[in-house]
Amino acid sequence: MTSDPIDLETLRSGARLAGFTWSDAELEEIRPQVEAALRQLRALESVELGSTEPTTQYRTV
């Protein structure tokens, strides 16, 4: 889904698409955390999910 490192232009585009206009300084500040988070989220890509459907909440009865 993603790869790192991420350059500033990619961050700008991502923020704009999400509806935010953050300054370059604000984006640079979070760049290491974004890269770390996306590395962590890659763990989800390697899971064999088969036909598992997404959970939206715990089974309440």
């Binding site: 889904m1 993603t2 961050l11 991502g14 923020a15 999400a18 509806g19 935010f20 953050w22 604000e26 500040e29 979070i30 955390q33 974004v34 988070a37 996306l38 962590q40 989220l41 890659r42 763990a43 989800l44 890509e45 899971v47 999910l49 598992t52 459907e53 997404p54 959970t55 939206t56 909440q57 715990y58 089974r59 309440t60 009865v61």
Partner: protein, 470 residues
């Protein structure tokens, strides 16, 4: 008066009902202690002193008139400051909501009032509950009371709840738990904290962090007090579609002290190996204590549980940003900079991440269910570490270095992800006198067994009776 602030809620309720003590005396004792200590502890954001005394006088009047009494009649408590309270500001620990005054009570606040409980005030917390360390630059960092020499983290996000209960400023409190925010401060502050099953307690009128991960629950000094509070809190609420229609059992009646034959699975790799040596030793000793009392103890390995970190990140980030998007566009400068950074990061979590996380969530839930198919409860450390100092950024865990934030969340968030009930209780102290917490995890909607096991442990040990230095 000193005894009143250390009395359990069960005992206060009994003493008030039998007229051994007046609700006014009980409330005044706690308000006096808050006035004396909270300047340094910073557990409270708002103290409702006058209102609490007025309510206590009314409660005394009803008592003397011989009217029907609720199970918490005249017993004081405090609320993490994200529960809506009619006429009393609810800040969410944020400057942005500093003047936000709800016009109605959260469902659980109303239920506590109907049970006769008296609100002392609103408690400090991490801004918008987004963080496990317990820090708040707007209202001051709540101080962990177990170390007079160093300022240690209280744990969060329910930091004020942990500190207030540990120091006798309140006999019980409500916290909320999205990744461990009840159990982490309970562990670091040496008290009991219960995260019920998702759907057991209404979240209506509670500021959300992440709707599908948020849980409401009690924080008390004894398990019996958490059982008493849960009996009042639990049950279907038409205002919260996620709540269950299952009947609410008598949780206090479940506390038999009997655990002979109780099947306890100790969570091994990931949990025990990830803990620091002192925490691991304390949890292993706790397992031995339960075994000596007749429990059948074995070790369990959960293969998928480590995925809860990535899964929780995706779910919490996406849901939190959905709630905060507009405020982040218009009032970003007023957030705690650390919370603002976490929210900005969320913009880069995609829809595919979120859905895959929800698929993984189903697998993790199935695995925890399977571990509980032939066991009654699972046992694990609540946190791998004891309370860090404010300037600690990295800690050495049993399986390598970790940043403090990830370490604090590591053992608790799998059960927010899965939705299972989990109760944290103190199970030891370090040589330096800092509390160590463990958690007992149970089957969905079987809080009664979790509480029975935790209460039995407290009957066998005295860790929950020790008092901090503050």
């Amino acid at each position: 008066m000193q005894d009143l602030v250390w009395a359990p809620m069960t005992e206060l309720a009994r003493m008030i009902a039998t007229k051994a003590v007046s609700p006014v005396e009980v409330v005044r004792a706690h308000l006096d202690r808050i006035a004396a200590l909270d300047g340094s502890l910073r557990a409270f954001i708002t103290v409702c002193g006058d209102a609490a005394l007025e309510t206590a006088k009314a409660a005394e009047g009803r008592l003397m008139a011989g009217g029907a009494l609720g199970p918490l009649h005249g017993v004081p408590y405090a609320l993490k400051d994200l529960y809506d309270t009619a006429g009393v500001r609810t800040t969410g620990g944020s400057r942005i909501f500093a003047d936000r005054v709800p016009t109605s009570d959260a469902t659980v606040v109303r239920r506590l009032a109907e049970a006769g409980a008296i609100l002392l005030g609103k408690l400090n917390m991490v801004e918008f509950a987004y963080g496990p360390e317990g820090l708040n630059p707007h209202y001051g960092h709540a101080r962990n009371p177990w170390d007079a020499a160093a300022h240690r983290m209280a744990g969060g996000s329910s930091s004020g709840s942990g500190v207030a209960v540990a120091t006798g400023l309140a006999p019980g409190a409500l916290g909320s738990d999205t990744g461990g925010s009840i159990r982490i401060p309970a562990s670091l502050c040496g008290i009991t904290g219960l995260k019920p099953t998702y759907g057991r307690v209404s979240r209506a009128g509670v500021l959300p962090l992440a709707w599908s991960m948020d849980h409401v629950g009690p924080m008390t000094r004894t398990v019996a007090d958490s059982a008493l509070m849960l009996g009042v809190l639990a049950g279907y609420d038409p205002a919260d579609a996620s709540t269950s229609v299952l009947p609410v059992p008598d949780y206090l009646a479940a506390l038999t002290g009997k655990i002979h034959g109780l099947r306890v699975g100790v969570l091994g790799p990931y949990f025990l190996t990830g803990a620091t040596p002192a925490v691991r030793a304390a949890v292993e000793a706790a397992a031995q204590t339960l075994a000596t009392a007749g429990a059948i103890v074995d070790e369990v390995k959960l293969e998928r549980v480590s995925l809860a970190a990535a899964g929780s990140l995706a779910v919490v980030a996406a849901e939190a940003l959905a709630y905060h998007a507009e405020l982040l566009r218009t009032r970003a400068a007023e957030y705690d900079p650390e919370v603002a950074r976490r929210l900005r990061l969320s913009a880069f979590v995609g829809g595919v991440h979120y859905v895959r996380a929800q698929q993984v969530r189903a697998l993790v839930r199935e695995e925890v269910d399977a571990a509980l198919a032939h066991r009654d409860v699972l046992l694990a450390p609540a946190t791998p570490i004891v309370a860090p100092t404010l300037d600690e950024r990295q800690v050495a865990l049993g399986d390598g270095p970790s940043d403090v934030r990830a370490a604090l969340l590591r053992f608790t968030r799998p059960f927010n992800f899965s939705g299972h009930p989990a109760c944290a209780v103190p199970c030891g102290f370090t040589e330096g006198g800092l509390p160590i917490g463990m958690q007992l995890v149970g089957r969905p909607f079987d809080e009664a067994t979790v509480l029975r096991a935790a209460d039995a442990f407290q009957r066998l040990t005295d860790f929950h009776t020790r008092r901090p230095v503050a």
